[in-house]
Symmetry: none
């Protein structure tokens, strides 16, 4: 029966429902924490912490929207309107948050302004291009008659460029950072690679599917939600901890007032 194929069973529904709710809670309270905790770093690093809080705030808004959209589309047994679940929210979210995540990692290094501007002028447009080129493939929009795989390949070009800038260009500035900061920045880059890597895997798995597949929807929502929580909340908290370490390194008085060692 065709209508039944667009339903999730109770377990599937609850799994995604709880995962989206976990997304709301994680994003919302990381935001609150980061905005209040910005005072616990030196003024020079507060912008990085505030941008981290802005990213999780934007994501919290979109998780509220996705949660409502998911409920509307799949709650109730007659729910044969799986079309009504809006995948667009994730892309609108990423369009705003992915460039800002790169702003966070650059801002927390406290680089000279010229170097910082040069890095951001390359990373931010590349991030926006990556998201904009991915969307037509994932949403299977019929633009210029291109297959989803072509959009996926196009979107990979700015992704590789971002990795080049982060691992090679930004790597050059790392030698001037202390050992604990270097270690954290390397963790951040690996976290970014691991969480952003969920996206192409999901993209390729869904690329050739036609129509509605309940398992696929469940796997995609869970995968994206976990990756999002790690890529924004954990990422933002590591940014905060780098900002704390650097604040203490810059100012012995600050170190004494904040830490005992």
């Amino acid at each position: 029966m065709n209508t039944l194929s667009s339903l999730l069973d109770n377990n599937q529904f609850n799994l995604v429902y709880n995962m989206l709710s976990l997304g709301i809670a994680s994003m919302l309270f990381t935001t609150v924490f980061l905005f209040v905790a910005r005072e616990r770093v030196a003024p020079r690093y507060r912008m990085a912490v505030m941008v981290s809080g802005t990213v999780t705030a934007i994501a919290a808004y979109h998780y509220f929207r996705m949660f409502d959209s998911f409920n509307h589309a799949f709650a109730g047994l007659e729910g044969n309107n799986s079309d009504a679940y809006n995948v667009g929210y994730r892309y609108v979210d990423w369009l705003l948050t992915v460039p800002l995540l790169l702003v966070e990692i650059v801002a927390v290094l406290g680089l000279a302004r010229a170097i910082q501007a040069s890095l951001l002028n390359r990373l931010v447009p590349a991030a926006a291009a990556m998201i904009l080129l991915g969307y037509p493939g994932d949403a299977k929009l019929d633009i210029f008659d291109l297959a989803p795989s072509i959009w996926g390949a196009l979107s990979t070009i700015p992704f590789l460029y971002i990795l080049y800038v982060l691992f090679v260009e930004l790597g050059k500035s790392l030698s001037r950072q202390s050992a604990p900061v270097q270690k954290k920045i390397k963790q951040l880059r690996l976290l970014l690679l691991a969480t952003w890597g969920v996206y192409p895997i999901t993209f390729i798995l869904a690329m050739n599917s036609t129509g509605f597949n309940a398992d696929e929807v469940v796997a995609r929502e869970i995968g994206y939600s976990i990756a999002d929580i790690l890529a924004k909340c954990l990422f933002g908290l590591i940014i905060f901890s780098i900002a704390r370490i650097k604040s203490a390194e810059d100012d012995k008085e600050f170190a004494k007032s904040e830490f005992r060692d």
Copy 2:
């Protein structure tokens, strides 16, 4: 069939829906960021940043309203009540925000109070007149029996006056600003010209249309939303960055605590 012509298809609906949601997210979180980030500029420039945050806050409210109004008018297959979509929200928004955008650009320059007052006493009434004269034409109200093109022409007079004040009068004060500030102010004026320019183009395109045209509605909503996000969020963030530069120029201690170079 006449009723069908007042519907948007699924892709059209989703495109506008996601664009209005992007508007909400951009306006709301630029507001939060600017209000918190006002501490990162010297007291003298905080008014400019707070006015920028107020502009995006007003716009966030109106995007929530437009999002709901759009859903109410176009969601559902029987939705032949496209008349119910309220274009008035954009005009109410502009009536408040457009004069305030001009307050931002004047306030961030930190001019002598007499010069500032003289600029604002001319820019603010001109901006209000521009919006009030445009509305009867765009909404095709039957006031004094004037054609939409007449209202468009009337609204252009204060627009040209604003450009004169910004490019000629305000240009005179620019010579006393530093090179980086001059560069940013010139970017701001071009951004203002480019984003406000979307409005007359849309106005002229829609001027002679009669009845409902789905493509026209979609193009107008997307055009206005992108222009609005750039004209308010990007504009406000450039104001913030000018305020940061000028704070650092005014006060070496501030510069040292905020930047490393």
